[in-house]
Amino acid sequence: MKKVFTTLLLVGFLFFVQSTMVFASNPDGYICNHGYHTFGDHVMTGGVGNYGVNRRYFWMTGFDSNFNGYVRNAVSEWVNTSPGYPNITTSISIRETTNRSSAMFEFWNSVLPTGVLGQTKFYVYNTEITLTPAGELPQNYGWTKMLISSQNLYYYGISASQCKATISHELGHGMGLSHQNNNIYSIMCQASYNRIASRGSAIDCITINHLYN
């Protein structure tokens, strides 16, 4: 009996090792010195809402009513993380505005290449910003443009929940989160690595708090 138990334990352990090894092989985003998936701890200047003290705004254009709804839901789920899922309070306070010049988060329905679902661009006023070969942003940034291809998402028959997840994922980038391609439960896992999260999870909120607390 003891032998069977040991064997089972061994098989289980080997299975675990193997599965983590397979996971660990996915190309991944930058991990900061503190162990979090960020772009080198560079953030949006002025924060992501500071618990409502310095509220930020998003603005969107070009979407149909389905996608307008996905964007609103995606933002609202990032704002309302406690009480409820995942029960972690963050400083995120973002609301919709029609006054574009006050919006630091812009969502555009855009033409993107076949296979590309979303893209986030980082901007600093009047200067350039590029990713380093290590995957960091070189400095803080002023605003972001998140381009979504609703046409590609429709073309591939992606579910409503994962359409919204694409928008949540881009907003995660917009707030400074890098990819977590070895954790399918993180919203920062890419669709190509079989993400199942459809909104920010505990690790994503903890990473936000690492950046903005």
């Binding site: 996915n26 190309p27 991944d28 985003g29 930058y30 772009f39 574009r100 010049s101 555009w108 855009s110 033409v111 993107l112 290449p113 076949t114 296979g115 590309v116 679902l117 979303g118 893209q119 986030t120 661009k121 980082f122 901007y123 006023y125 009047n126 200067t127 350039e128 910003i129 590029t130 990713l131 380093t132 070969p133 290590a134 995957g135 960091e136 605003w143 443009k145 381009l147 046409q151 590609n152 073309y155 591939y156 694409t166 994922h169 881009e170 980038h173 890098s178 990819h179 391609n181 890419q190 669709a191 190509s192 690595y193």
Partner: protein
């Protein structure tokens, strides 16, 4: 007599099999090379020496990771070719690269060795004034004068991936643009940023995959490469 017929039959079968095999890969050349290139209205040759460059990087989320089995399977064409005539254009305010490719080898699809095709891919140069015209966000660049804006060209990069250069010979998995894409009829689109390969002199295939600025290099042997195409 019966034996002789059998041997002849076997020989014929072998010849047929060999012909079939050699058709995969190399000898798809046809007598008349075709110029399949297309032109577009909004074409930009890129910045001049006098322009100031402003680089804008982005993270792009694709349905495709670096798995070549998936990329090759979803491709309509897989070609090797020499990059010619690079120019740039934009769709909904984002810069794309347009390049003509002289096909030197065809692995999958209708395009043949000797043909010249036009391909489009994400990333490229766009004049800041054209960018602002589309996005209507002059207010984001309020510290720049009008003459600054007329002089600045955005270099829009995708995950830090370098642009094509003329004269390079690379392998491109391609697709016919989906019906909703604004690309001209007869052109092709790069299947995935992850799918471009460089065939080295020692016969290996090098795949450079860019993930948020980080470069991952995968090497594939000839056998691996070929088996991924056939799968």
């Amino acid at each position: 007599m019966k034996k002789l017929v059998s041997i002849l039959f076997l020989l014929v079968a072998l010849v047929v099999i060999f012909e079939g095999c050699s058709n995969v890969g190399n000898n798809r050349e046809q007598k008349n090379s075709r110029d399949l290139t297309v032109s577009i209205e909004n074409e930009y040759k890129g910045p001049s020496e006098n322009n100031k460059l402003m680089k804008v990087d982005s993270v792009t989320d694709s349905k495709y990771g670096p798995d070549l089995n998936v990329i090759f399977n979803d491709s309509d064409e897989i070609i090797r070719g020499i990059v010619k005539n690079i120019s740039y254009t934009s769709f909904t305010g984002s810069a794309w690269t347009k390049a003509d490719i002289l096909v030197t080898e065809s692995y999958k699809g209708e395009v043949k060795k000797g043909d010249i095709v036009t391909i489009f891919m994400f990333g490229g140069y766009i004049k800041l004034q054209d960018y602002i015209k589309f996005f209507d966000d002059r207010f984001r660049f309020k510290d720049l004068s009008d003459s600054d804006i007329n002089n600045i060209v955005l270099k829009e990069m995708d995950n830090g991936m370098p642009f094509l250069s003329e004269g390079e010979e690379l392998i491109f998995p391609l697709i016919t643009p989906a019906p909703h894409m604004p690309l001209p009829k007869g052109s092709f689109e790069r299947m995935s940023a992850a799918g471009i390969l460089d065939k080295t002199k020692d016969g290996n295939y090098i795949q450079n995959y860019y993930e948020e600025g980080k470069k991952y290099i995968y090497s594939h042997s000839d056998d691996e490469f070929m088996s991924k195409i056939k799968n």
